[in-house]
Amino acid sequence: MTEIYPIGGGKGGVGKSFITVSLGALIAKWGKKVVVIDLDLGASNLHTLLGMKSPETGINSFLNKTVKDLQRTAVPTIIPNLFLISSSHCSMEIANLFYAHKLKIIDAIKKLPFDYILLDLGPGTNFNTLDFFLTSEQGILICTPEPTSIENSFRFIKTVYFRKLKQIAKKSAFNSIFKSTSLDLNKPETMPHDIIEIVLKHDPDKEAHFRDQLGEFRFKLIFNQFRKNIDATLGNQFQNVCNRHFYSSFEFLGNVSYDSRIHDAVFSKTLFIHKYPHTQSCADLKKIVEKITNNKHQRVSQKKYYEKI
């Protein structure tokens, strides 16, 4: 079974690409086949973090149809089992992706034969980022323990939520309801909560279905650039508050300690976890990887258990 983890977060510079590469490399070391996909379209640089030159093939070759199968655009990295699908050679205007192209990419990603697929997303909450984030039933949210970043994370969660809601609504023919309520989406106070309320008033029978669908999405949280003077329980508090006030489930995966050598590694274009394997940050990342890989086993065994019943 393939696990897809889109990795996003509202703010730029919180370390999405760094975490993507590090997690990818560490999971690959467990013997799993992993691909990291650079979906920060128009600003891609995963290859640099992996210490590689910009690969010739990538999403560009898939979109211009020189390569038919997305799998064949994956290039090996210096780490065995870890592959990269780059977007560095895409056209200058790739950031404004056509809707059809986006669907094509998402569709192809879902079919990739890897154990783990990590999607490195761009900052912000534009539709591309949101739709890539919703490729899977789960996503990792990277955040730094600063007010600005936490603020952006909530905004990100809320917009993902809203996008998800719209997806569900379309699928279940709620579309007309949305239209008939003529929601003013430009009003800042229009929140998923309000929309649910409105839909419920229209169609109470669908209430449970709606909640279940939203509840199926699983957010995972990582606090990056964590410094010692910050309350270590912040992540758990964040998780509890989100679980309480949103319908989806939230799991805090861990803090990744701040280390100035991470910047050094980026500068020298080498992989941090290779250059500094015995640092606190690396230990933190390993713990997170354990949680991610355990998650899979747990869910698989749970599924088997239910199937038996």
């Binding site: 323990p145 007010p147 936490i150 603020e151 909530f154 905004r155 106070e189 929140m191 998923p192 909560h193 912040l234 508090q237 964040f238 508050v241 309480r244 006030h245 949103f246 319908y247």
Partner: protein, 223 residues
Amino acid sequence: MKKFEGLNYYEILKIPANSSYFEIKRAYKDALSLYDEDSLVTYALLSKAERNEILNEIENAYWTLIDEKKRTAYDMMLVDSGQMEAATTSREKLNKSVPISSTPVILNENQLYSRVREKMATEEIKKLSDEILSGERLSGNDLKKLREAAGINIQELNYITKISGSVLNAIEEDRLEALPPDLYLRNFLKSYAQILQIDPQKVVDRYFKTILLAQKKDTSDPH
């Protein structure tokens, strides 16, 4: 956004139904700090209206659960409506062991200060405090008189200053042998004076003079 819809007071405070006063108090404080408008975790999550609604619910939950009568009535309501089993509410044993000092007087510091300010402004009290500070020395009994006149009890003083009850008593009763070391005493007296809103330095100076005098007496008197 879910708020606290459909949650009972125990669920809002995240405590089991047989929680003791201590647990309720702690849970309440935790909840208040989590939903405070300066809380790093929630400040960006909630709108002002949502925050107020949530804080309101927390207050309701707290004031119901720390009041024995209200809590019993609330529990019965939960049991009657099938939200809770009768057995889970039995907490007689837990409550018996609660010492007096933990009586649920949660005080708002600002409230206390404004109460004292009002009192201190009255002619009677003004006269009393001026009288006490006019002398060259003052005793613990003077402080006690002023405290009582301002309508503050020892538990409130203990709650706000965090000075233990036994030390407060020793200060008020001028029991030299039970007083803490000078450095601590100085600070305790300052906090005490701040609550009464009288000049801390004057109180410290005068109180220490009293102690010195008493110590001299002690040494000159072989008993």
